[in-house]
């Protein structure tokens, strides 16, 4: 990758340590994606906020970086470990709370907008078509490329952070025109629900490379689209999909039917029931909260149900009164955090969790260390409310 004179000087350390670090990261990611140069970008969405995921090393790195680094473009951030408004209701240790506070403050000090959301596309209107952005959160990157009409690599926590500081990103293939998917996944399930779409995404992420075409799908709702993006981002490197029934004879064809679905379901579903329920991985949007409030009319959950949505969406939902029915049904509405790696779910107290999220299931099982009972929202409401 060719650097300009200015960029080379920054890489050599002439403009301080923060910029040197940022350019070192951009150089490696540029080489990795065969980019020939860096280009300006308009928006960076950063991951690496939850103390559970980045640990002491991450906390220290951000604290030092924030002493002299500032973001130079619009920058938003992923969820952290918990909701500061509700932290006293959970049994969290003081050290976790303090470390999380330090991480939050480091991002704010660098000039990042404190969105703490994995669904930036639910908070802001997306910029005009083909705008170049750098989204680290995998579901958001896939959403941006596939449904949002804007362009990003499937960035890493560090590459997006480097982009936020420099305002630049490698001009990789995904940012260019003419990226034809080499594979078509033929959706064979009829009347798929959001869980089926999550499983389809997980499957597509496993078999697909950078980009896939999905046929046999007609206009899924937003909940299903988000589930697809979340599942896909979890299992592989795939950063883009396209719904298309057009027959392109040159692309490889793979079927996703009952057999393929069951195989992934069995891999992720390890329990017949859950001690508690989580909804929102990715965090729920306004439309999903509106749906949920209608579905819960007159019903109450038999067990604890945690609902995750961004703070911006929660404010809107409160003013539209969607939250009334949801809270009456016994749900805890939590913002700034999500199902994935939240310390609010304690494996010493919880054996299993019910969720409709494939992404959530993967991290609940592998990172939190609890069993997972996967079922679609309609079934959760049918079986776990009265």
């Amino acid at each position: 990758m060719e650097l300009t004179k200015d960029e080379q000087a920054a890489l050599n350390g002439d403009k301080g340590e923060a910029l040197q670090t940022a350019y070192r990261i951009l150089l490696a990611t540029g080489e990795a994606t065969n980019a020939e140069k860096l280009i300006p970008i308009k928006w960076a969405h950063l991951s690496g906020v939850n103390y559970n995921t980045i640990g002491d090393s991450g906390e220290e790195f951000l604290r030092k970086l924030s002493e002299d680094a500032k973001v130079t473009i619009k920058s938003t951030v992923n969820p952290m470990g918990f909701d500061f408004d509700h932290v006293s209701e959970y049994n969290l240790d003081e050290e976790f709370i303090e470390k999380q506070r330090s991480i939050r403050d480091s991002y704010i000090k660098m000039g990042v907008e404190p969105t703490f959301s994995c669904t930036p596309y639910d908070i802001y209107d997306l910029p005009e078509k083909d705008t170049q952005v750098s989204f680290a959160e995998s579901n958001a990157a896939i959403f941006a490329n596939s449904l949002g009409g804007i362009r990003t690599n499937k960035e890493s926590a560090f590459s997006a952070l480097a982009s936020a500081i420099t305002g630049k990103s490698p001009y990789s293939d995904l940012r260019k025109d003419g990226n034809e998917a080499q594979m078509t996944i033929r959706m064979k399930l009829e009347n798929p629900n959001e869980l089926d779409f999550g499983l389809l995404g997980f499957f597509a992420g496993k078999v697909g490379d950078t980009s896939v075409r999905i046929s046999g799908v007609s206009e899924p709702d937003r909940r299903s689209c988000k589930a697809l993006c979340g599942g896909m981002g979890t299992s592989g490197t795939c950063a883009k999909f396209q719904f298309s029934d057009e027959d392109t004879s040159s692309s490889e064809k793979v079927d996703f039917g009952k057999e393929e679905m069951n195989k992934i379901f069995d891999e992720l579903n390890t329990s017949e029931k859950g001690d508690l329920i989580t909804l929102g991985s990715p965090q729920l949007g306004l439309e999903e909260l509106s749906d949920l409030s209608k579905m819960l009319k007159g019903k109450s959950f038999r067990k604890q149900c945690m609902i995750f949505c961004s703070r911006a969406v929660q404010h809107q939902a409160r003013s539209l009164k969607y939250t009334d029915e949801i809270e009456r049904a016994g749900c805890d509405i939590l913002s700034d955090c999500c199902t994935c790696l939240t310390p609010l779910i304690d494996p010493n107290e919880t054996d299993s969790v019910t969720t409709n999220s494939v992404k959530g299931a993967y991290y609940l099982k592998n990172s939190t260390g609890v069993d997972v009972n996967l079922k679609p929202l309609s079934k959760i409401i049918e079986e776990d409310t009265q």
């Binding site: 670090t21 070192r24 990261i25 150089l27 490696a28 990611t29 080489e31 990795a32 994606t33 991951s47 690496g48 939850n50 995921t53 980045i54 640990g55 002491d56 090393s57 991450g58 220290e60 790195f61 680290a136 959160e137 995998s138 690599n153 499937k154 960035e155 890493s156 926590a157 560090f158 590459s159 997006a160 480097a162 992420g205 981002g233 979890t234 299992s235 592989g236 490197t237 891999e267 993967y362 991290y363 592998n366 990172s367």
Partner: protein, 127 residues
């Protein structure tokens, strides 16, 4: 064809897996032990190895896991992949872990447990 992603030198024993690695989901950032039983290197530690794997997958925060491994002195000495992904590349860049990408044939020919040497400045990078 060998491509350098992060420069450096390393000498050590190969730990090879055919599974793409989800660093956030499958690797303990303190010890370097693989704790997802679906991996063929389940319960093995990647610490001080020359880690040979197809590529990284999953969460973008895996880059922090690589950086944490280095800080906790549990990181591999070098990483060799078939395909470079942004999570592993950026994690290695920040943690100063040499990383190279090699061809399918070269990947297949590397044996688990063998002692090898990487020097990105040398004419023959892999020995």
């Amino acid at each position: 064809m060998t491509k350098v992603i992060v420069q450096g030198k390393a000498k050590g024993t190969v730990l090879k897996t055919i599974n793409p690695i989800n660093f956030l989901g499958a690797v303990d950032k303190k010890t370097g032990i693989i704790h997802d039983q679906k991996y063929d290197i389940f319960e093995k530690s990647i610490k001080d190895s020359i880690l040979v794997f197809p590529h990284g997958i999953g969460s973008s925060v895996g880059a922090y896991t690589i950086y944490s491994l280095k800080n906790n002195e549990s990181a591999p000495l070098a990483m060799i992949c078939k395909k470079a992904d942004l999570t592993v590349s950026s994690g290695c860049a920040l943690a100063n872990i040499p990383m190279i990408v090699i061809s399918e044939d070269e990947f297949d020919s590397i044996e688990n447990g063998k002692d090898i040497q990487i020097d990105t400045e040398s004419e023959k990078i892999l020995n």
